[in-house]
C-alpha cells in the first residue's frame, strides 16, 4: 500500500516536472530542479544611469506567495556571472555573489584565478555586501565606493509566457496559441540577486558575452604552512 503510494507520488512528480520543461531556464535539468542552484533567468541591461550595466540572476522559480517567505539563499551555493570581454567566450571577469549570515557578499568584477566549471573566491576582491531583503520588507540596497550597487531577495518573476498553451501545441492538442494568451508565470516569485556595475569596470571593449552560473561548494583544499 505504502509502496504504491510512493510510486504514485514519484509519477506525479515526474509528470509535474515534465509538464513545465519549456521555460526560460526554470527547472531545466534533473540535477538542479528544486535546489538553490536552479537558475530561472539571466538579464543584462543598461541601468537608469547610462554609465552602468545591471546584472540580474534569478533563481528558485515558481514560488507561490505563501512559499516565498520560506525560500532562502544557500551559503554553499555560489552565484557567478561570467563575463567575456574579448570575444573568445572564455571569461575574463567574474562577479561572484555568496550568501552568509543574512547578507549577500559580492566579489568583483575581477579576473578569476581559474576559468571553467570550478571557482574559488579571492577574498581580496570583496566589493560590496547587502542585507538580504526579507519577504514583505522594503528593499535594502547597499553599495560601495566604486559605484557598485547590490540587492538580494524575493521579487516578482519578470518572465512571461503562455506555457500551458504551448504544451497543448507540442502535445498535438492545439495548432496555435490563443489571443490573448495566459501568462503561466503570473503571480509567482523568484529569489533575485541584482548587481549594478559601472561600465568602466568591465574592460575596454564595446561588446561583452555574459553567462550566469551557479556552483556548489564541493571540495575543500587543506593547506598548511
Amino acid at each position: 500500500m505504502r509502496k504504491k503510494h510512493l510510486l504514485f507520488t514519484a509519477i506525479a512528480i515526474a509528470v509535474m516536472s515534465g509538464s513545465i520543461l519549456w521555460a526560460a531556464d526554470h527547472i531545466d535539468a534533473p540535477a538542479v530542479t528544486n535546489t538553490p542552484s536552479d537558475i530561472t533567468d539571466l538579464y543584462v541591461f543598461q541601468g537608469q544611469d547610462k554609465n552602468n550595466l545591471v546584472f540580474v540572476a534569478n533563481t528558485q522559480g515558481l514560488l507561490s506567495p505563501t512559499a516565498t517567505s520560506g525560500a532562502h539563499f544557500d551559503p554553499n551555493t555560489l552565484i557567478e556571472f561570467k563575463i567575456d570581454n574579448n570575444g573568445d567566450n572564455i571569461e575574463d571577469l567574474v562577479i561572484q555573489a555568496i550568501y552568509k549570515n543574512g547578507k549577500m557578499h559580492v566579489y568583483g568584477p575581477y579576473k578569476p584565478l581559474i576559468t571553467g566549471t570550478k571557482s574559488v573566491i579571492d577574498p581580496s576582491e570583496f566589493s560590496a555586501e547587502t542585507s538580504v531583503t526579507k519577504y514583505g520588507e522594503a528593499e535594502k540596497i547597499e553599495g560601495n565606493k566604486k559605484g557598485i550597487k547590490v540587492f538580494a531577495g524575493p521579487r516578482d518573476d519578470p518572465f512571461f509566457f503562455d506555457l500551458t498553451q504551448f504544451k497543448h501545441i507540442i502535445a498535438g492538442e492545439a495548432s496555435s496559441f490563443n489571443n490573448p494568451g495566459t501568462d503561466a508565470f503570473a503571480g509567482t516569485n523568484v529569489l533575485s540577486v541584482v548587481v549594478e556595475v559601472p561600465k568602466n569596470l568591465l574592460g575596454g571593449k564595446d561588446k561583452l558575452n555574459v553567462w550566469l552560473t551557479t556552483r556548489k561548494k564541493t571540495e575543500i583544499t587543506n593547506y598548511k604552512n
Partner: protein, 181 residues
Amino acid sequence: MKKNSLNSLSLFLLQMIAICVIVASCKKDHQRPPERVDVYEQDDQMGRPAINTVFISAPDKDKFNTTVPTDMPAVFGAEMKAKLLALNPGYTTNLLGLTADQFIGVLSTDVLNVSKTGVTTFYDGKNVLTGRALSDDVIDVELTLLFGGPDGSANPGLTSDHVNGNDAAFIASFPYLARPH
C-alpha cells in the same frame, strides 16, 4: 592512467590557486592565512533564455549545464540542429537570414551578447542581441526565429504566445524588478 594524471594535475592546479588566494588575502589583511580554500563546482548555467530547455534532450540537460560555452558547439551542435528541424520540419531560413546551420552556430554557444554602448535588448525591431531587458518578449522573438520563416510571417499561429508583457510593472530605478506577489 590518463585519468589519474589528469586528476593529479587538477589537484595541483587547485593547490596553486589555494596558495594564490592565501597570499592575496595575507597581503591585504596581514592576518594569519586561512587553512582551507573552498572550491565551487558548476551546477547550472544559462546565457540566452530557453536554450537548454528547448534544444537539449532530457538525458543531456545536466551535461549541458556543466559544459563550458567554448565546448558547446562541438558537443551539442548536431543535437540542437536535429531538434530545430524536429520542431519545424519546414525550416529554411529565419528573419535574421540564418540557415539551420548558421542559426544553430549562433545558439549553440550559449552566451548572452551585451553591448556596452547604447540600447540593451534581446530584439526590439532594430537592435538584435545587445542584451536582455526585463520587458523583452524573448519568447515571441524565439518563436518567430524558429517558426516564422524568412520574413517572420510563416506559421502565424505559432510565432507569438500573445502574452506581451509581465504581470507586474517594473521599477524605473534599482533594483528594477517588481516587488514579490
